[in-house]
Structure formats: C-alpha cells, structure tokens
Amino acid sequence: MTLCQLFLQPDAAYACISELGELGIVQFRDLNPNVNSFQRKFVNEVRRCEEMERKLRFLETEIKKDELPIYDPEDNPDAPKPREMIDLEATFEKLDHELKEINTNADALLRNFNELTELKHNLQMTQGFFDEAQAHPVGVLEDMAGEREIELGGQTTATAGMKLGFITGVIPRERMVTFERMLWRVCRGNVFVKQADIPDLIEDPLTGEKVHKTVFVVFFQGEQLKNRVQKICEGFRANIYPCPENPHERRELAMGVMTRLDDLTVVLSQTQDHRQRVLAATSRNLRTWQIKVKKIKAIYHTMNMFNNDVARKCFIAECWAPVSELDRIQLALRKGSEASGGGTVSSVLNRMITREQPPTHHKLNKFTQGFQNLVDAYGVATYREINPMPFVLITFPFLFAVMFGDAGHGLIVSVFALWMVIKERSLKDKWRTQEVWTIFFGGRYIILLMGLFSIYTGLIYNDVFSKSLNIFGSSWRVKFGDEILNRRDIDTVQLEPTPYNYSGTREYQQMYSGTPYPFGLDPIWQVSENKITFTNSVKMKFAIIIGIIQMGFGVFLSLWNHLHFNHRYAIYLEFLPQIIFLACIFFYLIILIFYKWTHFDGLVSTQAPSLLIQLINMILLSYPTEPESSRTFYSGQRGVQTALIIFAVICIPWMLLGKPIYRIIMNKRRANYSTVTNHTENAEHEIDEQTHENESTKKVEMSEVWVEQGIHTIEYFLGCISHTASYLRLWALSLAHAQLSEVLWQMVLHIGLSTNGYAGSILTFLVFMPWSCLTVFILLLMEGLSAFLHALRLHWVEFQSKFYKGEGYPFIPFSFRLLLDEVPIEG
C-alpha cells in the first residue's frame, strides 16, 4: 500500500477519475477537509446531479403507479462525459414536463367526466321522479297547494300566485339523512324532498374516490326558502345541477350529456395511452440513466476532494493504492487522458513516502468475504499483520460443528446452504429489503461449511436426530445369562469392560471385543443409561485438547508477526516465555490425557488418575497417597512435574521484566548515539540512525511501558488458564444439543411411533408437524445461533488475543461497482 499523488489536467481529470472508478482500486483522501460542502468547487455540478436524480425518482414513482416493468440494463453503462450531462438534463426536463402536463390534463378531464356522469344520473333520476309523479296523480304532492298542474311535469303553476321551484343535485349517501333533517328544521317543514339512490359507485370529482351517491330533488316555494336550501346544499357540499323543467329540454340536455361523455371517454383513453407510451419508453432506459447519474455524482464528489493548483493549472489528488496495482492505475490514467482529447501532457502519478498508517486491504473473493467480515467485526487487522481469516475459515465451522454435532441437523443445514449457493445469481437481488434474509444469504458459504462439518461430527458422535447408526457392528455384546436378566429385582446390568479374563474367574464373560468401533462412538452407548458419563469424559478431553492446540497455534502466529516486523527482541522476550509456559503446563496435560487413554483399562479403573486433581497437585507441589486417583502413576513423575513447574514460573518474570529492561537499554543506547554523532559532520548518517532508532524504539514514558507490560503479562498467564477452561463450552453446548434432540424425539415423535396399527400411522403423521417445527426452530435456529455465537467468541477472545492487534482501518476504494451495489436499486 503506498500513498500516491496524482497530477491531473483539468480537461482530463473527469475522464481519468471515471476510469479509476471502473477499476476500483484506489482510495482517495480528502484534501479539503475544512471546506464546507457548499463552498467546494463542483458544488453546482453535484446540485445538478441531485436535481436529475429527483426527476428520475419522480419518473420511477409514475412508472411504478402504472405497474410497468422496469428493465435492468444488461451491461454496465460507462459514466457519460460532461457534455452528455447537458443532454441528459435536457431529456429529463422534457420528460418531466411532459409527464406533469399529461397528469394535469388527465386530472382535469377526469373531473369533467365525473361531473358529467353525476349530471347524467341526476337527469335520469329526476326524469324518473317526474314520470312517477305523472303516473300517480294522487301523488304525494297533494298536500302542497293541491295544484294538479304540478303532477303534469313539474311546471311551475301560477295559480294563487304560488311558484314551486326545485333544486336537484347529488349528495353522498351517508349525508342524505342529516341533509334531510337539516332541511326540515331550517325550512320549518315547508320543503319537500325526494331522493333516489344511484346504484353504481361514482367517482367524486373533488376527492377522486368512489362513493355511493344519492340524487335528490328539493321542492320549495318562494325566494327565501330557495336561498336557504341553496345555502344548506353548499354547506353539505352537495353538487347542484341545473335541471330544465321542460321535458323536451331535459331530453336534449340528456342527449348532449351522453355525447359529451362518449367524447370524454375517448379523450381520456387516448390520454392514458399516451401516458403509457411515454412511461414505457422511459422504463427501458430508466436504470441506465440512474446508474449514469450516480456515476457522475460520484465523480464530482471525488473531484471535490482534490486540490486545485491554480499556478500549475492542474488538479492534485492524493490516494492510497496497492503497490501491485500501480501499473493498472497508470494504464487507466493514460486511457483517461487519451479519451478526453489526447492532451499533450498526460496525467502523472507520483509515489509519496509517508509515516502514516495505510489502510488495510485484503484481496477477497465471494467465498472468503464472509469470513473476513467475521474477523473484521472484531477489529480490522493492523497494516501488514497476519490475517487470521484463512485459519478461521476452517476452525470456525469446525468448532461450531463440535457444539452442534448432529448429522441429521447438519444435513438439513447443508442442503439449505447449498440451495443458496447454487441459486446465487437469482437470489442475489431478491428480498433485498429483508434484513434477516440478507444476513443469511451473505453468510451462505459459512453456513455451508458449518453444515458439512456438522455432518462429520454428527457421524462421529453417532447422533442422527438423537439416534445412532450401527454401520460396522458394535464392539459390545451382552453375554449375561437368563438367570441374571430375568431377575425381577435387577433393573440394570452393566457390561464388562475388560476384554480378557484378568482374575481367572469362571464367571467372566468377554463382553467387549477389545477393538473400538472404527468410526465414532459405539452405537450401544445410545441405548445405555450411563451414556452421558461416558461421553462427558471424551468430549471434555477433546475440548481441552483442541483448545490448547488452537491457543498454541495463536502464539505461533504471533511469532510469525514478530518475524515479519523484524522485532527480534520480541521473539526472545515475549514469544519464548509464552510458548514455554503453555507447553510446560498445558501441552504436558495433553500428553497426560493421551497417556491415560493408552495405559489404563477396566482392570485398573479404580487407580486411573483423575487428571484434574493431578494438575492441581502439580501446581501446588503436593503429592498425596490417598485417594488412589491422586497418586503418582509413573515413575519419576514428581521430578518431572517439579521441573516443569519451575520452568513455567520462570517465564512469568521473564515476560514481565524482559521487554521494559530492553527498552531502558535501548533508550540509553540512543542517548549515547545522539551525543556521539552530534560531534560528527555527517548529518545524513545521524538522521539515518535516528530514524532507524525511532522506528524500532520510540522514546516512551518508562512508566507506561511497565504498566503495559504488566497488563500483558497478567492477561496472558491468567488467560492461559481461564481460556483453557473456557473451551469446555464445546462440551457443554454439545451436551445440551444432544439432550434437547433426545427429549424432542422421546416426548414428541415417540408418541406417534409407539402406537400400533392404523391409529399409529395417523398419529405419526400428525405428530410429525410439531416435531419438525420444534426441530427447525429450537434445534436448528436457536441452537445454531447459540453455537455460532460461542464459536465466534472462542475465536475472537481465546484465539485472537494471542496474536491479533486489530487496530487498522479498512481500505474502501473508489469503485463504481461498490457504489451501485450498496444502495438497493429497487425502492
């Protein structure tokens, strides 16, 4: 990783940045951090881009409203040149304007259409009223003036100087009752209302919703009442329509309305077609435009970070770039300069020397990306330190599998992960908004490895949905006779563990063949009462063994780090005491475990040493003779263990005092050098020495060094013991998983399997559903999450604390691909 300076010609700058964006391997630094974003050079261009994005968003919502499909572009469109930006802006402006015009026109037409529809219904209904009035001469109008002329068609009669007027209109159905009541109250019962419901749903011209409406006719006498009625109609927001009294006029009006309605329908459909066409044309290009605009905006944002050198008339940019990619960057710059019109002076790349810590860049692919995320979640690796990811890639799924350990569950998990991996392409962009899904999908390779290892550990634990497989034939046989097995007072029998007749008695029967089951746990243990006692022992021992080995591996990785950074002193002052302590106590423990496995059998089972007690006695330097399991069990044990303890204890002050004393000596030497070389004229030499000394031994406060080293020492030595015990969670979780699985089988599925006959088959069918649901939700999801978390903790704390510093910051290159991926394209 190196810091580079780019000198870009102003006209070539845009094209060069575009090329670098496509390449995606440089990280630009902001050279104007104190400048307000409104005062930057290209703020206008960024504003124009945002305006374009706004218009595109508007177009997208319109397209979505009409439910047209949006086409994804096949290829990756290039960032357009600055000239093209103006064209794009013009296109968007035109489309925007056109669409807005279409929308307003359509709204106006629709309103008109709805009014006319209401008028049509109005006329129909009132026609109905007056026809009815004609048909029933003894109509309801009798109590009004009693003039027969009214029934003949609603003509105003002039008899007795009384004029009967009417108002017709349309009102929403729910308001009808209150409307009538209000009219009755205000006009003191001197008006007459007739109403008829419109059967269809009408679209209200003002709100646009479809509501039930009612046509009403209000008859009244006199101007005053007319005013009152009109005011009430306005108050209730009833739409009043003029209705001619003459039936001929009415009919003419009705015909006119019908023709106008037909015309409007045609115009409306044409407007809709036009809109569809415009939107369809837009939808084809929409995504391409969006990508182009995003790219332009990104380029201008980047260019805002540059320093504008007015004197030399060029842009200066600073960026971090991997050393191995410098050639490609040069090529991209040359391409950019040529593309922007073959400038006479091409852009220059200049490497800079700096003391700053560069960002950390790991080359990853889709498989390793997931695991790197797991490691980075704890801390990004310091620049150039060893990346634990390749090791975590295997040990994490393995430790998960040790805790999960069921071949049937592992199979389901593997199949799920395999589906996600095989269907990668099509599933990549589906359900992007569902965060839980994206988490599962992002970790598909992790889940696949976890599942595969779980199948392996499940076969070794001989646990398939809490049942065992007997592939090779058990090593145990029941050789008890009937006289023992048929006795009523004996509930359980225990098989003989020694494969040979040790005491020469006649009752001895060989029940164990002498050769263990070739692959995994013997199937007889699944049906025995003391299964847990047996498996606890082996699982705990394995957990300790794998834990110590992983921690030792971590310490060796720290050696690798020391060698890389050339910290020779650290090898002797930190690595050696750490590994010696670990070896003396914990590798010795592993040797004892293997010794106990190979040298003690059923004959001497009472004398078999209890390893935990032995370890405690070793540290306490006490060697009791009772109980039997605490005695020494090999000759010379006292001497060996005492020696190991002495070596281990020496390591503590070695690590505590070593590094600080080294620092003190180095500081003294530096002080000597600077007084000696001050007298020489060789200034260069002095600077070299000083920089060399500076880099290896910066002058720090001695108290700080003591405190820091004290903390590290305590952390390491206490950590050795506590982390070793912490690995016992591998045993604990696998026990919990096995027991849960067994409970689920015994309590749920067994109900169906133990019933006989047809009832049994139906019951099994019914019971399968809760059993499988509980298996998936409790055992797969909950236990899986739990084991995932614990395996992750084991890596972050127990493994990585031995060598990992994690104080770096990630390398985030300026890349169009990253930019387009991070924001979901669909809304």
Partner: protein
C-alpha cells in the same frame, strides 16, 4: 489387536493423503495457498477428532449400563459372538 491397527492405519493414511499429499497437487492460481491451508487444517482437525474418540473407546474404564429388557433385546438381536 490387528483390527485396532487396521483402523488406525486406514484413517491416518486417509487424512494424511488429504492433508499432506494433496496440497502439492493444487494447480497454480490466486487461491493456491488458501486451498492448501484449508486442506491441511481440515485434515488435522478431523483426524484429531476421530483419533480422540477412537482412543477413548479403546480401553474403557467402565461398560455400558443397560436395562434388563434392553439387554435381552440386544442379546437376541446381536447374538453373543463377536
């Protein structure tokens, strides 16, 4: 004793083939080192796991405890000969 040896030899050879021999045959490419590390670690972990369970069962300190009915079933199912 021979049967014990057979299983040990078979599995040791199997995992050492995967972990020690196979890494030399990975074709050159950007992922060569990664695949080598993966193979070595996988075979080491899996072999160790199998070995621990195998050794633990070789000289058991106690035998399985069965209910009398289960014992009768197993006696008739598996017979009394090895």
């Amino acid at each position: 004793m021979e049967k014990f040896g057979i299983a040990v030899i078979v599995f040791t050879v199997f995992w050492s083939l995967i972990g020690i021999v196979l890494p030399f045959f990975i074709p050159k490419g950007p992922n060569r080192r990664l695949i080598q590390v993966m193979l070595m670690l996988t075979s080491a972990c899996c072999y160790l796991f199998w070995l621990c369970f195998y050794l633990h069962q070789w000289k058991p300190l106690f035998g399985p405890q069965l209910t009398s009915s289960d014992a009768r079933i197993l006696r008739s199912l598996w017979g009394t000969d090895f």
